[in-house]
Amino acid sequence: MKTAISASGDTIQSVMDQRFGRCPYFCVYDNESKEYAFHKNPACEAQSGAGPLAVQFLAKLGVEKIVAAEFGGKVKPVLEDLKIQMIIMNQEGRSMEEIVTLLNK
């Protein structure tokens, strides 16, 4: 199963970005292959509707869980429809590696 995390950079040491729709990268972790993949967020520079655009991108990748600092009002109903689990991480400064470790606990 794939989990996406909003990331500020493209390495496992990168810390989480506090924005969901406009974070520069998404870290996608596959807990079966134990592999990390980093994707540029195509919604990062969108004029409007960045959140929904990011959701579409992640849903196409087959993501089933998303970790972010917060989810906006336009995104929540779509994620609920798509049965993608929202996980709110409200501690700043955690790296991708740390978050994945926490998820696997």
């Binding site: 509707g49 929904p52 579409q56 849903a59 009002g73 779509v78 798509l82």
Partner: protein
């Protein structure tokens, strides 16, 4: 002539200037009408007591997708410039984000399978009023939770009668609601205050109206004896200073009582006369 009264910063005196200008011109018997385009928080009616003649509801159309008829081709999604249609082909998922929809109609045009119809959504109300001297006053009020007031602003301005001088009290800031209001103007008055905050937001407003190629000038409100970074900026940029309205306890008191200071003070009367002269009204 349409005059838009705007400012980058909130609370600088847009409504103060526009209602005073309206009453000042009305007093001289000049045909003048007024539109409160600050549709998220209209407040000109605190000062302009008009008789309500009619109230109209403003709607927008929203697309409704019939998922039984939809072939999930994605064309409507590609046509939407506002990312309002969420579409995930492999999951056969499609939905509309109502807040993002601008009611442009592109998705209806795009759909080749008649899967998109429209429904109406109420955005707000426009009131048409008449002043005691018989001039038209219009204001708009956007419903709570509506994402953008642009359509309500457009509806309000349409209710003006296209005669004489029209004064449009713009919303604060420099985003879509301001740009929409300013787009109707022949001239834009930017109201600012002689502070660094005022200057910062004035620069944004100047950049916006210059981008729109609108003729404009500046009124410095609550001018005092202290430092005045705004005047220096105007000189450097060659921007017309229409007037300086002094920081005056009496003006604040009249205004707080819902009075029209220009009708109370001869000093203020002179200042507005100067604005009138510069605008060639």
């Amino acid at each position: 002539m349409r005059i838009v009264v705007g400012s980058g910063k909130g609370g600088t005196g847009k409504t103060f200037l526009s209602v005073n200008l309206f009453c000042f011109l009305e007093e001289q018997g000049i045909p003048v009408s007024f539109a409160d385009c600050d549709v998220e928080e209209p407040n000109a009616d605190l000062f302009l007591k008009g008789e309500v003649k009619s109230v109209e509801t403003v709607f927008q159309n929203l697309p409704v997708i019939d998922t039984a008829a939809c072939t999930f081709c994605g064309k409507c999604h590609d046509y939407c410039a506002f990312n309002a249609i969420m579409f995930i082909k492999n999951l056969e998922y499609i939905s509309i984000s109502e807040e993002l929809c601008h009611d442009c109609g592109a998705c209806l045009y795009a759909c080749e399978f008649d899967a998109i119809s429209e429904k109406k959504k109420e955005l707000g109300k426009v009131r048409i009023m008449q002043s005691t001297k018989g001039n038209r006053i219009v204001d708009g009020l956007t419903n709570i939770g509506v994402y953008s007031g642009v359509r309500v602003i457009k509806s309000a301005v349409k209710k003006l009668e296209n005669q004489g001088v029209e004064i449009l009290d713009a919303p604060p800031g420099t985003s879509c609601p301001f740009v929409t209001t300013a787009s109707f103007g022949d001239y834009v008055i930017l109201v600012t205050e002689p502070t660094w905050f005022g200057l910062n937001d004035l620069k944004l407003a100047v950049e916006t109206v210059r981008g729109m190629k609108k003729e404009f000038g500046v009124v410095i409100n609550r001018a005092g004896d202290g430092e005045d970074p705004v005047s220096d900026y105007l000189k450097k940029e060659g921007i017309e200073l229409l007037a300086k309205i002094p920081f005056d306890h009496k003006i604040a008191k009249w205004y707080s009582e819902g009075k029209i200071p220009v009708l109370e003070s001869s000093d203020l009367h002179k200042i507005f006369y100067e604005i009138q002269r510069k605008l060639k009204i």
